[in-house]
Structure formats: C-alpha cells, structure tokens
Symmetry: C2
Subunit: 491 residues, 2 copies
C-alpha cells in the first residue's frame, strides 16, 4: 500500500476525458446484458469486497475514526446490498414490463395499436460518495449498486474524507468487474471536486446522485438542472428527523424513551443522516429530568477535521441562541473532540424560530422541546421542512391520526415506537423525502426501489417479436411479471 500513503492526486483533465469516453462506450454493451448477466457482475463485486475486508477495514478505521465493529457491519450491509440488487435483476419486476395488445374496439375512439413498454438504463451516472458511510454510501455503496444494476456505467467521485479507502475499494470493484467480463468503462474513480463537477456537466453523463450536505447537494443539483440538457440529480441532503413523544408514551415508558433517544442521537457520534435531531416531550412529564440525568457517552472524534469544525460551528451557534439552553453534556467540554450535547427549548420558542432551531447539526447533538399539550404537536410538525424520517413514540390509545398525516407529508419514512437510525435495506424501504431531505422527492436511495432512479421507460409500437426487448416478447423468456392489457400477469 505504499503508493497509497500519500493523498491521491485529483483526476487530470485528460484522464477525465478518457474515463468519460470509456463510460459512454460501455453504456450500450452494459445495457445489452441480460439482467441475469448483470446480476453476476454485482455478485462478483460483492464477493471481492467481502474477500478484501481485512485489507479495507483497517484503512477505513484510520481514515474515518469509526470503530472496527461498525465498519465490518457496514461492509456486510454493502455486499448484502449488491447481492440484493442481483436478486432484483433476476426477479425482473423492476422492468415494469407492460404489454397492450392491439384492440380495434378500444373505447378511446381510435383502435389501440400493439404497445409494449419496458424500462431501460439512462446511461452513465456520476455518483458522489458520502463521508459518513465509507462503504455503504461510498465506492461500492447503494448508488453504485443500483446504478450498475440498472445497467448504467458509474463514475464514482470519491469523498475526500477517505481517499485511500476509496482507491483501494475502487481497485477491488474494477478488478472484479473486469474478471467477471463487464464492459471496459463500466466503473471508474474520480478524485477532486473539479473532476466531479466537470463530469456532471458532460453531455455523456445522464444522471447524478449524491449523499451529503444541503449546500453541497444543492450546488450539484443546480449544475445538473442548468445544463443545456438537464439531467436527473438524486441528492440526499439533510434532515432533522424529529421525534414526537405523546403524553401517554412519556407516562408509560419515559425512562426507556430517554435511553433509546440517547442511544440513537449519539450512535456513530451522531453522524447519521437519520440522527434524531429534535425530541418533543410533554412538559412536566419527567422526561426532561430523565434526560438531564442521562449518561451521555464520552466525546469521540468525528469523521474528519472538516466535519468536526462544522459541528463545533453549528453547535456554537445553537448554544448562543437565547432560545436554547444546555440540558446535558458528555464528560468533556465542547472542544476537540466535541462532546455529546443536549439542548433544551420550548414549543413556543421553536414555533417562533423554527428554521434556526431545526438546523441540522451533524454530530452528537439534539434539541429537546417541551410542549404544553398534544394540540401543539400538529403545528410543531408543520413547522418542519422536508425530512428523511419522522418518529412518533406513542401508545395504542393515542389519537395521533392527524399527526401521522402531517408527518407523512413531511417525511419519506414515518416510524412508530422505533428510532430512525439504522436504515434497513429492504423491498419497502423509503430513504428520501421532500426537499431539503432530497432533491428528487419521488425517489429513494436505499432499498430495492433505488434502481428506478437510473431507468426510464420506452414503448415499442407495432414491433415484430424478434426486434423487441426480451422482457416484452410473447414467450416471456425472462419470466418477468408483466402488466398485460392492464392486468397483472405473473410469469
């Protein structure tokens, strides 16, 4: 690993051109592979990353300050995700294949032609890796897995926080793809913000994805949207992830809620996009007292200096806000490394200044808000911008239907008596939400539906069988579930 001991140089212009050209050339052959063939590519990458774990994890530990156990778990999640998308490909439901047979009596007033529709890949994608998941949202992470599954070549812009790990992982991914027979140009690593922006502007690139901060994601979204040919940009930006504790829940299990909340907001030193940043508790319920007494964990180093500086700055601004006071703090003062901190305010103060008090503070900090009656919960929920998650801690007897309605409008995922950290990779997962949670409200970056971001539908009208994509042929050689004349027809 001697060549990696110095920081990687940014991708040079000539190298970028070669990489873009290769991705452009790879798009056709990669799209032409059968879904099952692309599944084998994903599995080859998963196997290779698993096999390289002992090389990758120590580098990740050094570069991100995350613990070995957490990183090994994250790597398992990462390779699971690749294999899950292989399963998605073999299932074929993601193709949303539809067949309408010709119908001379179609009641529209004109005969219906034979129309068949399937999803095809968009083309090369630039993926901007995240800092806080050096495996699962980085080089071989969810965006890479879903874009490759869709059949899109990936240009992976490495996060500056873990460049050595990025290069090591990219080498593992590239070798595995090459050995498995992927088209040359299917995957490449980009280093440096200039290369990332230039790639996003290039007409050969057809989509972008990103996990990170609101300002960073918005800047890239603006680039993607203002191109001569605008392209979809799937940014997962930021979220406060409020938690609403009902009076009955506070009475029934206040201690348990206090404990669960502290575990959740300090998990991974608070560096999750789903960290619960605000906890609404009934005034006088004892929950505030329980939190004041809670044993907050010791200070831990954050991912890198930039994140640590950002945390200190945002937390400082919150502490200086006269509407907030410190409720509890970890064993060391706010410094380097920063200590977990709970701040306290009231419902009235939050409603008076929601934007400032709901600012995402990336790190182990949260705001506890005392409310005076459950009638305040709906207006408090309404005061939030778009969120990745929103949580209710309630009991079966709580009348929270109105609150659930508001939170469904505000968030991509609504939780009941659970905690938002820990985003399971499943078929029904939704990791998204209205802006600024994401720049693409209809999409998810976690779960099997993430593949849809990199596909678009094409209809074939009046085509002979031999020229149709396999998923649309009468004999259904791929065995996929299809919508035939408006009805579900399973293979």
């Amino acid at each position: 690993m001697t060549v990696l001991s110095s920081v990687l140089p940014p991708t040079a212009e000539t190298e970028l051109e070669a990489v873009l050209s290769a991705a452009h050339s790879a798009a056709g052959p990669l799209a032409a592979l059968r879904p099952g063939e692309r599944a084998r590519l994903l599995e080859a990458v998963a196997d290779a990353v698993d096999a390289a774990a002992d090389d990758l994890v120590p580098v990740a530990q050094t570069e991100t300050h995350l613990a070995e156990g957490r990183l090994r778990g994250e790597l398992q999640r990462t390779t699971f995700q690749l294999r899950l998308f292989a399963e998605v490909l073999r299932d074929g439901g993601y193709l949303d294949a539809r067949i309408d047979h010709a119908d001379p009596e179609w009641p529209m007033g004109a005969p219906r032609p034979d129309l068949r529709r399937v999803r095809i890949p968009l083309g090369p994608v630039v993926v901007f890796a995240a800092s806080n998941f050096p495996f699962a949202f980085s080089v071989a992470g969810g965006d890479t897995a879903s874009a490759l599954a869709a059949g899109c070549p990936v240009l992976l812009k490495a996060h500056s926080g873990h460049l050595r790990l990025s290069k090591l992982t990219a080498d593992v991914v590239s070798s595995a793809l090459a050995e498995a027979g992927a088209p040359q140009g299917t995957f490449a690593l980009l280093v440096g913000t200039a290369a990332g922006s230039a790639a996003l502007k290039d007409p050969r690139v057809k989509a972008g994805s990103f996990t990170g901060s609101i300002p960073g994601g918005r800047a890239l979204f603006d680039i993607a949207s203002s191109r001569p040919e605008p392209i979809p940009f799937y940014g997962e930006l930021g979220s406060n992830n409020p938690v609403f504790v009902t009076e009955a829940a506070a009475a029934a299990r206040g201690g348990e809620i206090a404990k669960g909340f502290v575990s959740s907001f300090t998990l991974g030193a608070g560096q999750f996009c789903t960290k619960p940043g605000t906890l609404f508790v009934p005034a006088g319920s004892g929950l505030v007292g329980a939190l004041r007494q809670a044993a907050l964990p010791d200070a831990a180093p954050l991912l890198n200096d930039r994140i640590q500086n950002g945390y200190v700055e945002v937390l400082g601004a919150l502490e200086r806000n006269p509407r907030l006071s410190v409720l509890a703090q970890g064993s060391a003062p706010l410094a380097d490394p920063p200590t977990p901190t709970l701040l306290l305010t009231t419902a009235a103060d939050m409603l008076a200044e929601p934007h400032a008090l709901q600012t995402e503070c990336f790190g182990p900090t949260a705001v506890v808000v005392e409310y005076d009656g459950e009638s305040q919960l709906v207006p408090l929920a309404e005061s939030f911008e778009g969120q990745l998650t929103a949580t209710i801690q309630g009991t079966d007897t709580c009348d929270v239907a109105a609150l659930v309605e508001v939170l469904s409008r505000k968030a991509g995922r609504v939780l009941w008596n659970q905690w938002p950290t820990g985003v399971s990779v499943t078929y029904a997962q939704q990791h998204g939400g209205p802006y600024p949670a994401t720049t693409a409200v209809g999409s998810t970056s976690v779960g099997t539906a993430a593949i849809e971001r990199f596909l678009r539908p094409v209809a074939y009208q009046g085509f002979p069988q031999h020229l149709l994509p396999e998923a649309l042929r009468d004999d259904n050689p791929l065995g996929v579930s299809r919508l035939v004349d408006g009805r579900r027809a399973d293979a």
Copy 2:
C-alpha cells in the same frame, strides 16, 4: 355565453392568493379520499364534459380553427382518459404498495423491521395547458386527470389560444367536482403568464406540468428548479420524430410509405408534437419522386396567429438554408394561411448541420433526407437530440437491431411500420423521452403511468394496523396487488 364574449382578464393577485390557499387546504382532504371515491370524482367530470360537448365544441372550433370531427374525437379521448384513470384508481396497482414483515434473520446483518411503503400525492400542481389539443391536453386533459387521480389539487393555467373554451370547460369541471362532493379548492383556472409563473413559484405548489414549446417549457422548468424548494416539473416540449425508411421497405411499398407519411405530417395541419419532421429515404429508390408528385393538402389556418407567425418564421429559415430545397408544396404559396411544404436534403448535409436541419417546425412541414446506404442510418439517428418518437419503416428481413438500439436511447416511443401521430391512451403508452422531448426523462404524460408523476413514496416502520393507510393493512381492504416480502401478492 355573453360574459365570455370578451377575452378573460388575467387572474389578479388577490384571486391567485385565494386560489392557492384553497388548493393548499384541499390537498389533505383530497388525499384522504379512498381511491374509489376519487374515481367517482373523475367519472363525474367525464360525464359532465360529455354532456357539455355541444356547448364546448363550437367554441373550440372558433378559437382553434380545428374541424368539428377532430374536436369531437378529441373530446371523446378526453373523457375516456378521465374514466381510464378512474379504473386505475380502483385497480390500485399505481400505489406500488409494498410490505416487508419484520425479519430477525435478515441477512443484512441487522434485524429487518416491519416496513410498509405506499405512494401518496405530492400536493397542489400547476398544469400549463397546451394550444394544440384544446380538450385532451388542456383544462380537463391528461395532466388534470392524472393529477386529480393522484389526489393532487389542480391549478390549471389556461392557454391563451382558447380562453373562452378554457373558462367554459373549467366551469363544467368545477361544477361537476362540487356536485360530486370534491373538497373545495380541488380545481381552479388561472389566466395569464404572470399568474402561472407566480403559482409555480409559490411554496404551496408541489409540482408543475406543461405541454408546449422548448423555450416556454425550459423557462418554467428553470423556475421550478431554482425555487428555494425545487419541485418536479414535467414539461413535454418538442420533438422532430424522425422516420427511417429502409431500402427493402422503400422497394416493397414506397408508394404506400409516401402516402402514409404525407397523411401523418399534414394531419391537423402538422400541429402535433408527434408530427414526423424528418423522413430518411434511400437515394434512388423512387420515394423522392413519389413525394415530389404527392398531392399535398391545401393550406389550412393554424391554431392561432402566434403559431402561424412562428411557423412562417421557422419555415422561412429552413427555406433559406442552402442545404435545403423545396421538394413539394401545397396549392398555395407560403403565406397566410401557410401551405404544406416538403423540403429535401442529403444525409451528408444533415450530418453537417443537424441542429439547424432538425429544428422543430410546428406546422405542416417536413424534411426528406436522401441517404446513400443503410450504414448511414445509425450515425444519422445518433445526430438527434431526445425525441418523443422515432419510427422505422422496414421489412421482416431488415437488419435494424443497431438502429433500434440507438432509437430506444433517443426516444420515448419507437414505432415499426406505423406513424407517430395519434398517441393512444393505454396502460403501456410512453409519451416522453430525453430532453428536449421532456424535462423529466423518467415520466410519461399520456397513458396510465402518467399518474406516477404526481405521487411520492412514504414508508411506515413498525406501525400498528389502525394507523396504517388502508393499502398497507394486513387485511388489504382495498384489494390491491402488493409486493409482500419481495414477492408479488395479488389480492
């Protein structure tokens, strides 16, 4: 109809505020209706529009110069479309309901929680009506039908080309919705570009849709994308809709192709977004001669003065281009009203100046391109920007797989031995395509999948049955097809 005899005044600021406020208030109640209840609203609108046909069609004739038969057919298509979305609602497949049961052994490395995902409406939508379909892409048209079906209140920005018809139709729609019990604020008409832009900028509006020109649609897309909270904007902008005639097809049925092409590019005086604007024919095949002799229809007035002036201007620029010559023209010279015109060029000229020669000329004009061998077809196809449609006229023995692959990348719909005008409203239709055909490559504005534009997914984690949306409850009271633990489970 005396009150409508003068042009409608633009929507005043105070009126716009009232309309936005009502739409915002209607969003929750409209979303809360069961799909079957919204289906009845759509059917009420369809019945009312059908019943008003004799009042509406004459006004449409006066305002658009389109023939009665065409307008009656378009009205039938419009009410069919509303009823088809009612069927979509009752089917429930559009909800994409997914249930993952909790699984402690989930191989991700952490237990899977109970996660359930469904699509919910985005909120109020501004729909910008088109000029060329005063019924089907206007007040009660496809965007209105699909947005209302999704559960989104609609602010309909009337097209200035048929304001009286817009007001009449809006009154029919509003009355029908009110009588059927729709929430107050479910639908409103906006008049004037200022009101349309202001609505699109308003934070209470959550999506926009549009059918019209590239400059107009791009300007609105830019507004939607540059808001503090960017929102999805589904613009269907422009398309050249190239047609590729293989050598074998030209030999086998050149005369029939010439006739079909003339019918298609002059249909409705060439005022379709799917008008075939370019025809590639083999040099020396006799097809050029057949087209030179073809009986082009007489000149007919276009929709309105603005469109007529635009047509004269673009056609003038094409005629002045030294790479183009006039191949055939209708009975009157290029003037007022403009006459159908066929222009001629070569493959080499088109490849030399593709952008100028592929400019959409909205009206009865097309360019015929002579190619020298079928090896030119792929580079010619590659020279196009994103298209709504692309067509091949071939025979079963033609080797066109590579051409089909390129056209699938370029267009939303690819046709074989048919003509692109006439967009059937079906389950498998795809009316979209890469920019500039649309501003949202993954979407369609025609067909049942158009409803997806106005929905977004929400996941519920760990929820008790009574707080879940009906589509996600164990007993499946709506009887919808769902994905359960990754497998299709039909009701």
